[in-house]
Symmetry: C2
């Protein structure tokens, strides 16, 4: 049981500022230290993607923080994927049931709202331009240095939360302690953001209520809508070694030839392609895993600091926010008994974070390759049908991750089970010509359910 | 092509001191910096295991360094494993063919010899008590601080080798560079060293020409002979959570009861058991992997700094030494073209290091559990028979790792293939009663060879 309800939150990004709010609501005195300048004065400085896909887990957290309706009013629902093929022909694939959507949200705008709410609490104090210089885990003390005036200060707290992102300084200090498992693993792919500006009347140049994908097998382009009428596009491409890679996109001619070959329908939409391409960085994609997430139940990592994942399931922020809602529920139940709270939280949450890390890596293959595959699209259609016909027995994995609060590890296990189901489904002759009330499909499905029941008993 | 034949070696443990010798022999001016004091004056300070199992790969490196015969004269051959069961009954299992052995060698003695040889070169300078304070990768510069007098010095070199062990400071600086893949993964097991002293006449209290194992399923004790007539024992046991774990071995009564239950035959051999148990640390077991091992072909990690592995295949030092012999052969071929040398070295060597890391993890299960399994011992006997009958077509994995220079990754692939073979072998009825010139075995073996040939063509 901690003696004083005090907490230090290191990092005021999305997860840090949300977590400060939830702690404040529980009556904690919260000190928040952030390396960057206050974006409310300095403006939002990127470094991370411009927009995000908010889904169920994220919304629940925003509701707890009391900011859901405000964010909702400027979020753009995306009801499905629109695939662009080489000829520019479009295919639509819904994400879930009628009306279900993921929402394109501005990272900067969301962070700003969360900071405003955090700042509105008397028991929260925000400190910007403070770089973490040193962490003394045993003393529960962090030394910060003010970036502009060089003043150093030691901040001690019975609880320290590391919400300082994928390159967390708090985690880096924990890495040197005994038996701390850690991995950072990079994809051979980089990404670069590009922009599709609005029409002159401010409207979007493509359907704004969808996530656009140009799947090209080994690489892809995607686009998410912004409220100002623009789209932010992201090109995911191997760094090098492949013929189609960033390494071989140096000159204007190379870049234009590449886009003409693979993304011809975007050329007329991206007047600033060459300037964007040259100016914007080529960023890397890392997966971070560690275990435990805490040091002696007094220092705890949350969000990307604990589990940085690749963006292909749109769950990075959602998973970080869910860390906070789960912990908040544990505070509800266990009060200030943080030894117990962290003990209960650590192991299953790491399992779930590992699962969404794996799912996100796998979803890259789905997005860049499978969504262009007729059999994959057929499977998605049959999934929708089964979900509607057997709502209590079949929930597609995408829906489980995106539109439910079921543990990510359950979604990962379900994926393997559903892969087995669809192996059998695709053995049904002529299934592509009719699955609605097809008795062969019903039988395959019932056999699968029975098998699962048997497996569950074993 | 580097301009000057200069190199900085950070860390003068086994791999660092060997590597300094090989560089010196190729005409490099070598600066060696080591954090510890010179063991030739200060005595050997542990922290790592007291003895090591030297095998083929290690001997080749020592031969290159010109120290093989000297070490050989004080190495103790171990021709196989002696398993001690709960009743104290013994089973012997040879490691290889007649005369093949792994050799118990003193870590301190070996390190000392290597330092002496390194020091005998005019173009090697050794610096002790120098702690690495900072690494500037882009400037090729390392700052050291003398532990005793606090004097700091910057050492710049066109080539820097990080041979500073599993907790490498050089690697730690590389970890912060973009796209550096890294993992540190701990077993839930700890280990503790204990001692069996010599008889009063200086002789060994057990057969000295074997590695002794007390396999107990989830944990084990092992013992390796020392030249002074003693054995160094190591207890590998879960840290906690299990009934049999270090957590539950706190009092004298608990420790004695545990040894009486599981290792009764050792009690009379270990008069200092309780003192050893309380005084000696419980150490952890880590696997370190990273990729790439170099920074811009100018800074290169070797040995545990690049690939720390668990000790269960006795290959940690052997693998580190093999790094050096492979690089030495590349120097022979490519002169000072280090860009080329490191480019050729990096990818396949990482694959091999990953393979021996996996093999070492798997061998823990073999040592603590399988060696007590009659079917496993039968397999080992049939392996020996097949190796003798089909010497060009069948080499047991243990021999491949221990008595050959074949790449570790080939041994790992071979293990999977041989597991398939033995699935079929154990389907032969009555195989346990006779495998010599058993036509069924010959047929299974020939089918397996044919399958492999087909697989190889695919």
């Amino acid at each position: 049981m901690i003696q004083q309800k005090q907490a230090l939150v290191v990092g005021a990004g999305l997860v840090g500022s949300l977590w400060a709010i939830l702690l404040a609501k529980r009556g904690y005195e919260v000190q928040v230290y952030e390396r960057r300048s206050d974006m409310r004065q300095a403006g939002f400085i990127g470094g991370r993607s411009i927009n995000l896909a908010m889904s169920q887990r994220g919304w629940r957290a925003l509701e707890k923080a009391g900011v859901k309706s405000k964010i909702e009013s400027v979020a753009i629902p995306m009801y499905g994927r629109v695939m662009h093929d080489l000829e520019g022909d479009l295919t639509f694939q819904p994400y879930g049931k009628e009306g279900q959507a993921i929402y394109s949200v501005s990272r900067g705008g969301l962070n700003l709202e969360l900071l405003n709410i955090a700042d509105s609490f008397d028991n929260v104090s925000l400190h910007f331009d403070e770089r973490c210089k040193n962490v003394d885990l045993d003393k529960n003390e962090v030394r910060f240095e003010h970036i502009k005036n060089g003043v150093q200060s030691n901040v001690q707290s019975p609880l320290i939360f590391g919400t300082d992102g994928a390159f967390s300084a708090i985690r880096n200090s924990m890495q040197k302690t005994n038996r701390f498992n850690y991995s950072q693993s990079y994809l051979d792919y980089g990404y670069k953001e590009l922009s599709i500006p609005p029409n002159s009347d401010g409207s979007h140049r493509m359907d704004k209520n969808a996530l656009h994908i140009w799947p090209r097998g080994k690489f892809m382009l995607i686009a998410l809508p912004n409220v100002d009428g623009s789209f932010t596009c992201t090109l995911f491409l191997p760094f090098e070694k492949e013929a189609d890679s960033f390494e071989h996109l140096q000159t204007d001619a190379q870049i234009l030839a590449f886009f003409e070959k693979y993304f011809a329908d975007t050329l007329s939409l991206m007047p600033d392609l060459l300037a964007d391409f040259h100016q914007n960085p080529t960023s890397s994609l890392v997966t971070i895993r560690c275990n435990p997430w805490h040091y002696q139940h007094r220092v705890l990592l949350l969000g990307d600091a604990a589990h940085g994942i690749v963006p292909f399931f749109g769950q990075g922020m959602n998973a970080g926010f869910e860390d906070c809602t789960i912990l908040d529920a544990l505070m509800e139940e266990h009060g200030e008994d943080w030894i117990n709270i962290i003990e209960i939280f650590n192991t299953p949450r790491i399992k779930d974070a590992d699962a969404i890390a794996d799912l996100a890596l796998q979803n890259f293959i789905e997005m860049r390759d499978l969504v262009a595959d007729p059999q994959f699209l057929l499977r998605k259609q049959i999934e929708m049908y089964l979900a509607k016909k057997y709502p209590s027995q079949f929930l597609p994995v995408y829906s489980m991750v995106t539109f439910s609060h079921l543990p990510y590890s359950q979604a990962l296990a379900e994926m393997n089970a559903q892969n087995r189901l669809f192996e059998a489904v695709f053995n049904i002759s002529n299934i592509e010509n009719g699955w609605r009330d097809n008795p062969a499909l019903d039988e395959v499905f019932k056999n699968w359910l029975e098998q699962r029941a048997v497996l569950a008993l074993e």
